[in-house]
């Protein structure tokens, strides 16, 4: 589904965030990206969503070299990807329902489809009774679940999450990770960046360790105890 071929990303100030990274992601995989902050996890995800462009190398997304994709094609590319952020990026002046509906509105779904799918997504993250609240009325964990509902509501092929549990205590974090597992089980490919190693030890899946912009190890973790 995704292939990185010797990808290097150098920022304006000359720092190399990624150096010659090559990897392959198959459809339906659940992959955790780990490593210290500054190791290049966020950069890797940004390259996939075309928030940044690679300096060298090729990134193939379903066979297309997205590194060379023209700007006007970026919106269509991003609509195939669900994104979850550490600070969840919810709109404070909109209700939970409106926040989750936004990707579907952008993609041009009908009102009826939007209502049905938003309710279904809210149900999946267990917040069906909070649809009229604003994000500020929710707890941090609930806010992140709204962020996840928004990421999956338009049924993306790929979900990427950058430190989705960064602001959560361990119990809520596990809760969120279990949610990701559930979505992965219905076939969504997932790339999750996290430095929460304690949490990772309790989860399975493929694990890619980055350090100083290079891949240190790539393989399946032992099955969770």
């Amino acid at each position: 589904m995704i292939r990185f071929d010797n990808v290097t990303k150098r920022y304006d100030r000359g720092r190399e965030a990624l150096r010659g990274v090559s990897l392959e992601v198959a459809p339906g995989e659940l992959i955790f990206l780990t490593g210290h902050s500054g190791a290049g996890k966020s950069t890797l995800l940004k390259l996939i969503a075309l928030i940044e462009r690679p300096t060298r190398g090729q990134i193939l997304f379903e066979g297309r070299n997205i590194g060379r994709m023209p700007d006007r094609a970026i919106p269509r590319h991003r609509r195939q990807i669900g994104m979850v952020f550490q600070d969840h990026k919810l709109l404070e002046d909109h209700t939970v329902f409106e926040n989750i509906a936004l990707p579907m509105i952008i993609a041009g779904y009908s009102q009826r489809e939007i209502r049905g799918r938003v309710r279904a997504a809210l149900d999946r993250v267990g917040l069906l009774d909070k649809e009229k609240n604003t994000p500020a009325m929710l707890s941090t964990g609930e806010q992140q679940r709204v962020g996840i509902a928004r990421a999956v509501v338009a049924r993306p092929k790929l979900l990427i999450a950058d430190e989705p549990t960064g602001n959560l205590d361990p119990e809520l974090s596990l809760d969120i990770m279990n949610l990701f597992h559930q979505f992965n089980e219905v076939g969504v490919t997932m790339l999750i960046a996290t430095h929460d190693l304690v949490l990772l030890d309790r989860l399975g899946g493929r694990r890619i360790v980055l350090a100083e912009g290079e891949i240190r190890s790539d393989g399946n973790a032992r099955e969770p105890a």
Partner: protein, 307 residues
């Protein structure tokens, strides 16, 4: 088919939504609309006045009559010769002789002058020839003719009755140009006002724009609500301008009617014609969309999501 329907529904939602956003800040939106309305009303009011002035003056355009007053004591036969001579001139459409005797009869019928004239020993009035030039006669040729007539020893004076019409026309030409300049400047001002309002609007909704772009919103999707905001400002500003215009003309209608009565009813009451209504609304809409477009083009591209 459903895609098109959804697209149109989105447009309708953006359209209504933009209006909704404006009503959430009624004071700020109202003031902006008022400023736009005043800016559009000023040149249109001037235009209505100039246009009505021209309609009146236009009726006098071809009146270039002049009167030739002969020296007192000039024999009637000589006056008739002059009249015949002028009637034969190619510049002259008609030449009419008003003899001193005819003139005094007019005056004697006047109750006040009648008494006065009866006290005089002899008729003090001269023979007069009233000349109406042809429409084809140009101004320099007429001036030459008038000069020749003035130089004659039997002519006391040649009096142009219509210089003021020419002055009025010249003034109206000037005023019309001034209206155009004022309109251009004020529409420019409206574009700047709307552009600035929308720039602030864009800044206030920065988070929403960033998130929308992250979620795959196209430039068109992000741009649309702001263009509709510009559309509403332009339309409502234009309607407010028409309201102000109607109000001003209503306030002017009293004095205008009195003035019209003094000129023998030559003035029609000032009216806002369909052309002015369309021009004000079109000007408002154009400035609204133009202002919105410039703001959107300059500021939206600068907002790129940072993660």
């Amino acid at each position: 088919m459903t895609a098109l329907k959804n697209y149109l529904i989105r447009h309708a939602q953006n359209c209504v939504g933009a209006l909704g956003t404006m009503t959430r800040q009624p004071l700020a939106s109202g003031l902006t609309i008022a400023v736009i309305g005043i800016a559009l009303a000023m040149p249109s009011a001037l235009n209505v006045i100039v246009r009505n002035g021209r309609a009146v003056a236009g009726g006098w355009d071809n009146i270039r009559d002049f009167s030739i007053y002969l020296e007192p004591g000039t024999p009637l036969a000589q006056a008739q010769r002059l009249q015949e001579q002028l009637a034969g001139n190619e510049l002259v459409a008609s030449a009419r002789l008003i003899s001193a005797d005819e003139a005094i009869i007019d005056f004697q019928n006047d109750p006040e002058f009648g008494e006065l004239l009866n006290m005089l020993a002899r008729n003090p009035l001269p023979h007069t020839v009233v000349v109406r030039p042809t429409a084809a006669a140009d101004a320099p040729a007429l001036q030459r003719l008038e000069g020749e007539l003035s130089a004659r020893t039997d002519v006391d004076m040649v009096k142009l009755d219509t210089e003021w019409v020419q002055r009025l026309n010249a003034f109206l030409d000037l005023a019309r140009r001034a209206v155009w300049i004022a309109a251009t400047l004020l529409v420019g001002a409206v574009i700047v006002i709307i552009g600035n309002t929308i720039r602030l609007d864009i800044q206030n909704r920065r988070a929403e724009i960033e998130v929308s772009k992250l979620l795959g919103a196209s430039d068109g999707f992000v741009r649309r609500p702001f263009l509709y905001t510009g559309f509403w400002y332009g339309l409502l500003g234009g309607l407010f301008a028409l309201l102000l215009l109607g109000l001003s003309l209503w306030l002017l209608s009293g004095p205008i009617e009195r003035l019209a009565a003094l000129y023998g009813g030559a003035f029609r009451p000032l009216s806002v014609d369909r052309g002015t209504v369309l021009a004000v609304l079109a000007g408002g809409l154009l400035a609204g969309l133009g202002g919105a477009w410039t703001a959107v083009a300059r500021h939206l591209a600068a907002i790129q999501p940072k993660v």
